[in-house]
């Protein structure tokens, strides 16, 4: 893993200052994020909550280093990620951030263990070693019996666990999740969140989750509510009128 950027140990997991983002629609710039400031500490499980169009997906994309902000600065564990060149930013994502997508986005033609091993393989780890490490993680997620199955042979909850394994296998310090429980029933959803807390959150690690699944709100350390491109609530619980 050449070119790994050293991360500060005492810096916040996420430090955002004065972030704005415009999209061009019909030739006109539309501002979807308005001057957001935010700090997220390591060891926190943070929910980003809001209605569709509130800007939470845009914000998490910017935090994850896959969407440039129009204005402002984003520091992840002390690194100004948009100050990096393109290649370094890609390397940074590969080594520091784990992704969980709403649609899982597993590769349908390779088995669960190989899917979970993708970040390690991308880092250049030998495929067999990567698959072995992924299988061990799948075992921790009670997926050992399904490691050789293709995604199409797994239920939605099982696929989500494979996606979690893929997000965590390379031990990233920040995990970003987009609606990880949207396609799951209440029980599976809570299990997924428990897993994320158990495996993803640590002293030097953080998990940030976009969700509007009110069945799991009680599992968060911190809840940020977004409305019209602004953070309107920051607390350990949902505001009464929205919960």
């Amino acid at each position: 893993m050449n070119g790994v950027i050293p991360l500060a140990t005492d810096a916040p997991a996420i430090a955002i200052s004065d972030i704005s983002r415009d999209f061009i629609t019909g030739g006109q710039p539309i501002r979807v994020l308005h001057n957001i400031d935010l700090d997220v500490q390591a060891g926190e499980l943070t929910y980003l909550v809001g209605e569709s169009g509130s800007g939470k997906t845009t914000l998490i994309s910017i935090i994850a280093g896959i969407l440039y902000p129009t204005e402002g600065e984003v520091n992840v564990f002390g690194t100004d990620i948009y100050g990096l060149n393109d290649r370094s930013l890609v390397e940074f994502r590969l080594n520091t951030i784990g992704f969980i997508f709403q649609q899982y986005n597993l590769i349908p033609t390779i088995d669960a263990a190989s899917n979970a091993a993708v970040p390690l393989i991308a880092q250049g780890v030998d495929r067999l070693e990567a698959t072995e490490r992924a299988t061990e993680l799948l075992d921790r997620l009670n997926m050992a019996d399904h490691a050789r199955k293709l995604p199409s042979q797994l239920s939605g909850g099982q696929q989500q666990r494979v996606a979690i394994a893929r997000a965590l296998v390379h031990e990233p310090r920040l995990v970003v999740c987009d609606e990880p429980t949207a396609a799951l029933d209440a029980r599976s959803g809570r299990r997924v969140m428990d897993l994320l807390r158990d495996v993803g959150v640590a002293e030097d690690r953080s998990v940030i989750i976009v969700t509007h699944d009110n069945r799991v709100f009680d599992l968060a350390d911190r809840i940020l509510v977004m409305e019209d491109g602004r953070i309107t609530h920051d607390g350990t619980e949902m505001p009464d009128h929205q919960s």
Partner: protein, 379 residues
């Protein structure tokens, strides 16, 4: 990542087979059509290369090829023989005629008259019969095409009688020679017989075949004959090329085959391009996820290149195999395809065409992948 790219490709069997089929079909079409084209062109030179002993072909200045001949007076033979440096010179006759078979069928043939005493002008190999049999009265030899076309299936041509210009001809041998460009039946007989079999004008001699003395190159001899006699003299290679050029200039074959080869190329691009773009579209979320996770564009390029290259390699191999089998089977089982072969240049040309198809379709697919923003996976 290369392993993942290969698994992504081969795991979707329907599209994988579609891609391989597209390339294989293009390869087959391009290779097979180019092979037939080249072999047909070379048939314009069959008659010349069939007579290996003659270095120089002498003819009337207006004669254009073996089959477009303006006959010369018989004195031309003596003129050529009198040129210093000529080791030997013999008359050669070549003209079209109609033959009537024992069954009463009429067939157009080419009658070739070879030198009565030396039999120079006769193909070297015999399939059946002996060369000496041509010295017997009314003897003719037929080629492989004639042995199938002039006689009913199962009948041995040897001993059969044919009728040419109210004259009797008896088949006493089958010669081993590649068919001509038109695949017309060729009858070989002695020069004196040929004059009787084909009615004609006062001048009858089609060519004089000559060989140079030691120390004189065919080019030098041809030049010398032209200077001394006023006739046209061509070396064997030059006259063979004249036959090929005549076909190129006077038939629609290059255009027709060119169109088919172009179609093979276009069909390849269409099938492969469409299937590859469908494959990429089906996997665009996965590619987007890979980009978000941290797979940089260089690796994505390598993945798509490997996928396109693998499909190209397998498809090209299969297509070449099919084309070779087709040509080999045709050459072994059909008189019309006798002697067909695939020159090494054709697989190379096809490989270049396939590489272009792969490069174009791969590039189009890659553009889609590279244009995909990693952030799209969160939408």
């Amino acid at each position: 990542m290369i392993w993942i790219a290969i698994r992504m490709l081969t795991g979707d069997r329907q599209k994988f087979y579609g891609l391989v089929f597209g390339i294989a079909f293009s390869t087959l079409l391009i290779t097979q059509q180019l092979t037939i084209f080249i072999n047909l062109l070379e048939r314009g030179a069959t008659a010349v290369y069939g007579i290996s002993t003659a270095d120089v072909w002498v003819m009337d200045p207006v004669t254009r090829s073996q089959d477009v001949v303006y006959p010369m007076p018989s004195t031309a033979l003596d003129q050529v023989r009198s040129v210093p440096g000529v080791s030997w010179a013999v008359p050669h006759f070549r003209a079209g005629a109609a033959v009537r078979t024992e069954e009463g069928d009429l067939e157009g043939v080419t009658v070739v008259g070879v030198d009565d005493s030396t039999l120079i002008g006769l193909p070297r190999k015999m399939i059946e019969g002996d060369v000496s049999a041509l010295s017997r009265p009314d003897s003719v030899f037929v080629d492989g095409v004639g042995s199938q076309r002039l006689f009913p299936p199962g009948k041995d041509p040897i001993g059969s009688r044919l009728e040419l210009n109210d004259q009797r001809a008896v088949v006493r041998g089958i010669v081993d020679v590649d068919p001509s460009f038109t695949s017309q039946v060729v009858l070989y007989t002695r020069y004196s017989n040929a004059l009787n079999y084909v009615p004609g004008t006062r001048n009858r001699m089609s060519f004089v075949l000559a060989r140079s003395d030691n120390g004189l190159t065919p080019n030098e001899l041809a030049e010398r004959i032209e200077k001394r006699t006023g006739l046209k003299a061509r070396t064997r290679d030059e006259f063979a090329q004249d036959g090929i050029d005549f076909i190129i200039e006077n038939t629609g074959i290059p255009i027709n085959f060119g169109i088919t080869v172009a179609l093979g190329f276009i069909v390849g691009i269409a099938i492969v391009g469409l299937t590859f773009s469908l494959f990429i579209r089906d996997n665009i979320k996965q590619f987007g996820a890979l980009k978000a996770i941290g797979v940089h564009n260089g690796k994505i390029r390598a993945m798509v290149a490997v996928q396109a290259g693998l499909v190209g390699l397998i498809g090209y191999g299969l297509g070449t195999l099919m084309a070779t089998a087709f040509i080999a089977s045709g050459a072994a089982n059909s008189a019309d395809f006798k002697g067909f072969y695939t020159p090494w240049q054709i697989p190379v040309i096809t490989l270049i065409a396939i590489a272009v198809i792969i490069a174009i379709t791969g590039w189009l697919a890659l553009r889609t992948v590279l244009k995909t923003e990693p952030a799209a996976v969160f939408r």
